[in-house]
């Protein structure tokens, strides 16, 4: 591992491992869509499917805000409030990130 930078070596095991990773990931991406296509367009399942993106999104960022500590929770709250008021993605991200950066600088994490 001392040959640096190693630009073009492709070992067979590495390529097969990566292809395995790619296959399971792509399989789940496409499989999820094709399974959803088989669900009814109306009724309970359609209702559940409409609630799904919000539920996934919340479950992605709430734990990561908690991982960032008190300043992360404050930053996430500031981002949500700014977005609700200004409806501007740039502004909302900027408010949250500046708050977290400044908070870390002065208070630490």
């Amino acid at each position: 591992m001392t040959q640096f930078p190693d630009l073009t070596t492709f070992s067979l095991e590495a390529v097969l491992t990566i292809l395995g990773m790619a296959a399971v990931t792509y399989g789940m991406r496409l499989g999820g869509l094709l399974m959803a296509d088989r669900l009814p367009q109306h009724g309970r399942w359609a209702h559940v499917l409409e609630r799904l993106p919000g539920a996934v999104l919340i479950s992605v960022w709430v734990p990561s805000a908690l991982s960032a500590g008190a300043i992360g929770i404050a930053g996430a709250a500031a981002t949500v409030v700014t977005m609700a008021l200004a409806r501007n993605l740039f502004a909302a991200m900027a408010v949250g990130m500046v708050l977290v950066a400044v908070g870390r600088y002065f208070i630490g994490t």
Binding site: G32, Q41, V56
Partner: protein, 273 residues
């Protein structure tokens, strides 16, 4: 013909792809820095740059790549890496399922081509577009993020260090911030309230009790179960699904490639309702 606006968007319209790429612009700094951090890690773990780029463009999933590259050794623990990737990326089943309205009425080949470059970021941006949600928009964001991600990988691999610490500029928080902000755009009305509260509670409990990214599945699962339990038949009329079906011709382009006529409404299966 009678309607102005994006009435006849094809499957992968160049202009829509460009808009999708531009919509992901706020994620450029964080994506390039984290791509560079992964590049540094890969050079330390003995991947070649070619192998890393091959992984970035075929797997295209940031958190799974970090864990996999971290597990990488001279004798590659292939099974461990592939299982870890599958567990971390299990959320893509749900993300794929939620993309149903974006691919409504599109042929299978569009789904096959459009579902590869789906990351959390361009998915979230696409799902919150009221009129642009289209396979091309999704793909445009994915291509943009893929190019930026790979550029970061190359920079980090070649520099081998000297990368700014993402935490100093809160660049690690950019992902949290963009997802938090986009949640507002997903609000469809008070039917969302209970499932969202359940998702938040489920993911918080998962965060403190489960390892790794299982909290995402715990939260999403809680949200799904709550949504299923709170459904009532009278919810159907104002459901977004019905709206998608009617507006689908308009917002997402004509189905099955029939993009060149002005009479989509006459043979629309929903027209009789």
């Amino acid at each position: 013909m009678s309607r102005p606006g994006p009435a006849q968007i094809g499957h992968f319209d160049p202009d829509t792809i460009r808009r999708g790429a531009i919509a992901c612009l706020p994620l450029l700094p964080s994506t390039i820095i984290f791509g560079a951090v992964l590049g540094v890690l890969a050079s330390q773990r003995g991947l070649s740059l070619g192998e890393l780029l091959f992984m970035s463009l075929t797997v295209f999933a940031g958190s799974a790549q970090f864990v996999s590259v971290d597990l990488w050794r001279e004798t590659i623990p292939a099974a461990t890496i592939i299982i870890a990737t599958a567990v971390i990326n299990m959320r893509y089943i749900l993300i794929g399922a939620s993309l149903r309205p974006v691919f409504r009425g599109r042929p299978l080949w569009v789904k096959i081509c459009g579902m590869h470059m789906v990351a959390d970021e361009n998915w979230a941006v696409t799902m919150t577009q009221p009129n642009l949600a289209n396979p091309g928009f999704l793909l445009g964001g994915g291509i943009f993020l893929g190019v930026v991600w790979a550029t970061g990988n190359i920079a980090g691999y070649l520099l081998g260090g000297g990368i700014p610490d993402p935490e100093v500029y809160a660049l690690d928080f950019a992902f949290t911030a963009v997802f938090a902000a986009l949640t507002i755009g997903m609000w469809k009305g008070k039917v969302d309230l209970l499932p969202w509260v359940a998702a938040a509670i489920g993911s918080i409990i998962g965060h403190y009790t489960l390892p790794g990214t299982w909290s995402i599945l715990a939260g999403a699962g809680a949200g799904v179960v709550t949504a299923a339990l709170t459904w009532r038949p009278d919810m159907d009329d104002d459901s977004l699904e019905a709206e998608f079906a009617v507006e689908g011709r308009d917002a997402y382009g004509a189905p099955e490639g029939t993009v060149n006529t002005g009479k989509t409404a006459t043979f629309s299966p929903e027209a009789g309702k």
